[in-house]
């Protein structure tokens, strides 16, 4: 654990969230609260609902029942609440989703200019600051396709940071990367965690979980099965499903 977040205010809370895809019950009464500065790692087998869960937080997915509150803003489906929440929540995707027709710099300046009304000069200053932080500043004038996967993902992190979010959501950020590029992205995320960013990461990188997570949450079949501090989680998981999952995933690492 990098810092004690116990005395920090709650930044995100989910109460009894339910989601269906047609007849498929994707999220089953999920309740979760995340304090400011907390780092949470979400893991679980594929199809367990972990990506769906974080995508509900910034309204990329809608929920059928329950309540999501981010920084005091209730997500009620209105454009106003969605805008307010997306301004505070940054997201990094498995497949980077950089805008291929824009340079790295333009990728980073678009949202601050369009959403926050930042001037081009200020947006570029901001972009350079965060590109420097993720160590891709020298690639600022290139297009995403000219970059390696690891560099692209770091640009995606910088792009999200340019909106100066209070929370960062990571949706399997290293799953699409070649093994030798995983570390550079994880190092960037660890740096971010050290600086006190509130983070929710869907990842199977258990080394990362051990190193930075305040809490590890294990999901299966749309439910939170178990949550614990990493040490407890890895040493003495309570549920059989957690044990099986850990057995499988740790055998690979």
């Amino acid at each position: 654990m990098l810092n004690s977040a116990n005395d920090q205010p709650t930044l995100i809370s989910l109460e009894d969230v339910q989601k269906w895809y047609g007849a498929f019950h994707a999220l089953k009464s999920i309740s979760l609260s995340v304090r400011k500065g907390e780092k949470i790692v979400l893991c679980g087998p594929s199809g367990s609902g972990k990506s769906t869960l974080i995508r509900c937080i910034n309204a990329l997915e809608t929920i059928e029942e329950g309540k999501i509150v981010v920084e005091g803003q209730v997500l009620d489906g209105s454009t106003k609440s969605i805008d307010a929440i997306r301004r505070e929540v940054g997201m990094v995707f498995q497949s980077f989703n950089l805008f291929p027709h824009m340079t790295v710099l333009q990728n980073c300046t678009l949202a601050p200019m369009r959403v926050r009304g930042t001037s081009r000069t200020d947006a570029e200053r901001l972009a350079r600051k965060y590109l420097e932080r993720v160590r891709v500043l020298d690639q600022a004038e290139k297009y995403p396709a000219q970059l390696s996967g690891g560099q692209q993902q770091r640009v995606a992190i910088a792009r999200a940071l340019c909106m100066e979010p209070k929370v960062m959501l990571f949706d399997e950020p290293t799953s699409a990367l070649d093994p030798e590029m995983v570390k550079e992205v994880l190092d960037t995320m660890i740096g971010l965690a050290r600086d006190g960013m509130t983070m929710i990461c869907v990842t199977h990188e258990m080394g990362f979980a051990r190193q930075v997570a305040d809490r590890v949450i294990f999901m299966a079949s749309g439910e939170i099965v178990e949550e614990a501090e990493p040490e407890v989680f890895f040493k003495s998981p309570k549920h059989q499903r957690t044990k099986t999952f850990l057995g499988e995933i740790l055998a690979h690492h």
Binding site: N58, A59, L60, D83, R86, R87, V89, G90, M91, F93, S95, N97, L98, F99, P100, H101, L110, A111, R114, V115, A156, R159, A160, M163
Partner: protein, 216 residues
């Protein structure tokens, strides 16, 4: 048989001027309305999607010649006095907007979902999401098909002759009637169409090949 001299050639060039102008007006008008059609066709509103689907269906499912007739005589029936040029420009705009709208709808849908999601996650609104993120990528995807349609449109302008419009083909017909040299005249007319259309088609397929390579 009469000779084909400077005057005849000049007359053909006058026709060519109208052919090119009609194609440009149809393409620009059709482009502007086509973007609207494509956006409505991919919007969240069901009614907008239905109406534009109907519009596209009607204009793709009927001959351009009939569309020209309907607009030309239809506008007159409404009691509005318009010259052939305006009526034909309206008809071509409607026709092109349906086809371009459908081409661009497909291209908008071909842009990966992740692009919309990333734009949404960054808090970008519809206008910026479309203008800055989706449309630039969609237009690039659509280039081969768009150019292909432009070629069709250029050749389609010959149908404007039917409502008395003297474009290239009609000009050729008039010269042919005067000179009694139909093969020669229409040979020249055909060559002129070819000189305009072939480089466009060629550029279109070139683009397609380049894009296929880039996608690999």
């Amino acid at each position: 048989m009469g000779p084909i001299g400077e005057n005849e050639f000049f007359f053909l060039m006058q026709g060519l001027k109208w052919t090119v102008l009609l194609a440009i007006v149809g393409f620009i008008g059709g482009g502007i309305f086509g973007i609207l059609i494509a956006l409505l066709r991919t919007s969240k509103t069901k009614v907008a999607r239905r109406i534009t689907a109907g519009y596209i269906g009607v204009f793709q499912g009927t001959p351009l010649l009939m569309q020209l007739f309907v607009v030309y005589y239809g506008v007159a029936l409404l009691g509005i006095e318009v010259n052939a040029w305006i009526a034909v420009a309206i008809a071509f705009t409607l026709h092109a907007s349906a086809f371009l709208g459908e081409i661009w709808r497909g291209s908008i849908e071909a842009v990966p979902k992740g692009q919309t999601e990333a734009a949404n996650a960054l808090g970008l609104h519809y206008v910026s999401r479309m203008k800055d993120v989706i449309l630039p990528q969609a237009l690039k995807i659509s280039m081969p098909a768009t150019i292909g349609f432009l070629v069709q449109l250029i050749k389609g302008t010959s149908l404007a002759a039917i409502v008395g419009f003297i474009e290239l083909t009609r000009a050729g017909q008039i010269i042919s009637n005067q000179t009694y040299r139909p093969l020669l005249v229409f040979g020249i007319v055909g060559a002129i169409y070819f000189i305009i259309c072939w480089p466009l088609s060629h550029a279109g397929s070139g683009l397609e090949k380049r894009m296929a390579k880039a996608a690999r």
